[in-house]
């Protein structure tokens, strides 16, 4: 069974890589350059699917956190941790590509526009999730705190989205997509979703195996009948104190 599994995994990743490569070729060779924005618009085909999948991984963190709060099984915590890692990586991509787009289109790396601020705050929210994990020793306590944080952070996302829209939006840009562009965009969703699911699954499996290794399994205690335990020295002070 193990053998079958690893074959499937390698096929899965090869297919994803192939699709990604095709996607890149399509973006730079097949799709026409957008007239008003110029070639920088090509970032859109990566930016949008990754943004959607960021939301998907945040949702997974939320579901896994609720799962842990409800069942208290370590498995949920591993899933939340895995999904949070992917969420942070993806939020970083959305943030960076957004900044690059802003730099190319309006000349500044950073502007307090609603979209950019939203991805920054989203990234911050889930980076904090990862940052607080190592500073809590007991695994049960860590799972508990992260579960509560995972729930509240996800519920925070719509609030951030709403409050960010209060900010003045200097460059409202909604561009019209030609059919060729649309097909590339839709095509790009396939590899990105495959990568997301693959990364979350791989990270989840890894977290589970790491936790299994961490459980301190001492060698079983010698059966009391056979091996004589060390006789505790019973002095007057500590009467047989263990």
């Amino acid at each position: 069974m193990k053998q079958m599994n690893s074959i499937f995994v390698s096929i899965y990743w090869l297919a994803t890589l192939a699709l990604l490569a095709i996607g890149v070729v399509m973006v730079f060779a097949y799709t026409p350059t957008e007239v008003t924005m110029g070639p920088v618009q090509k970032i859109f085909y990566l930016h949008l699917p990754i943004a959607i999948c960021t939301f998907f991984s945040c949702l997974t963190v939320f579901v896994a956190s609720v799962g842990y709060l409800w069942q208290r099984k370590a498995m949920w915590d591993h899933l939340a941790h895995a999904a949070a890692q992917v969420a942070v990586i993806y939020a970083a991509i959305v943030l960076l590509t957004g900044m690059i787009w802003g730099r190319a289109a309006w000349g500044a790396w950073w502007q307090w526009t609603p979209r950019l601020t939203f991805s920054l705050v989203l990234w911050l929210l889930y980076v904090v999730y990862l940052v607080i994990r190592p500073s809590i020793e007991s695994s049960q306590r860590r799972a508990m705190i992260c579960a509560v944080y995972g729930v509240v952070a996800f519920l925070d996302v719509p609030l951030v989205y709403l409050s960010v829209r209060l900010m003045p939006d200097i460059h409202p840009s909604s561009i019209e997509l030609e059919p060729a562009m649309k097909s590339t965009l839709i095509f790009w969703f396939i590899p990105v979703i495959m990568v997301t699911v693959g990364l979350i699954a791989a990270s989840f499996k890894l977290a589970k195996r790491q936790a299994a290794c961490n459980i301190t399994r001492e060698l079983p205690l010698p059966k009391s009948k056979t091996a004589r335990p060390l006789r505790p020295t019973i002095t007057s002070g500590n009467r047989g104190v263990v």
């Binding site: 709060l69 601020t117 705050v121 911050l124 929210l125 904090v128 940052v131 607080i132 500073s135 809590i136 020793e137 007991s138 306590r141 508990m144 705190i145 509560v148 944080y149 729930v151 509240v152 952070a153 519920l155 925070d156 719509p158 609030l159 951030v160 709403l162 409050s163 960010v164 829209r165 209060l166 900010m167």
Partner: protein, 225 residues
């Protein structure tokens, strides 16, 4: 219902009596608030300060960090001698403990606000005269949401021996929507002079309701001696 109210009043009374008796939290927190305002005020420089928006930002920073200290202190009182275990053993509802602790935190934050806001206004000439009523309303709603999340996570985090900056790191990002919404509304209010729009208020209201409800539900699950 009356019993719940009586229990809440009892617990809040206990918190405030302990605070009055030990006087550790309030003095510390007020001085920290003033320190933050002075540092930020000096940093921003006089010309920046006249408009209300930077006043809100400065006050927000003071409230956030002083507030985190309040939440940490009021919860450590419970943990100190294992008193929380006897509270949990008592035949009272766990949400009563949450509401009582929230109210105590709010009272302490109110006292904190009543002290450091005038200090900020006097020291740096914030002219809140344009819309003092709306200013207080916005700040009150934001502090309520902030305290709701702060109290929940103070209980969650306090159970680990390691407190330190953990509570601040956890609570501050969660309070960001409140900060963004209230500062944007202040900008509209003071700099542009426009009355505050509906979305701003809905955000604050939604945040308050959301934080209160989630904390209420989750508190039951996470409170352990």
């Amino acid at each position: 219902m009356m019993l719940l109210l009586r229990q809440i009043i009892m617990l809040t009374g206990k918190d405030l009596r302990i605070e009055a008796r030990s006087r550790q939290t309030l003095g510390l927190v007020i001085v920290l608030g003033i320190l933050i305002i002075v540092v930020l005020g000096l940093g921003l420089g006089p010309e920046q300060l006249t408009n209300g928006a930077s006043a809100t930002a400065t006050l927000w920073v003071a409230y956030l960090f002083a507030g985190v200290l309040v939440f940490e202190k009021t919860m450590s009182v419970e943990r100190h001698d294992g008193a929380l275990a006897s509270l949990l053993l008592a035949p009272i509802d766990r949400s009563v403990i949450y509401v009582a602790k929230l109210i105590s935190n709010l009272i302490l934050m109110l006292i904190l606000a009543l002290v450091i806001t005038p200090v900020a206004v006097v020291l740096f000439g914030f002219d809140l005269s344009a819309a003092p009523g709306q200013f207080t309303m916005i700040m009150a709603m934001s502090i309520l949401g902030f305290a709701a999340v702060g109290t929940l996570f103070a209980a969650v985090v306090s159970s680990t021996r390691l407190q330190g900056g953990l509570l601040a790191i956890v609570v501050l990002p969660l309070a960001l929507p409140l900060v963004i919404a209230s500062t944007q509304m202040m900008i509209q209010l003071f700099r542009d002079g426009k009355p505050i729009g509906g979305t701003g208020l809905t955000v604050l209201l939604a945040a308050d309701v959301l934080y209160l409800v989630t904390s209420w539900l989750v508190f039951e699950l996470i409170l352990e001696p």
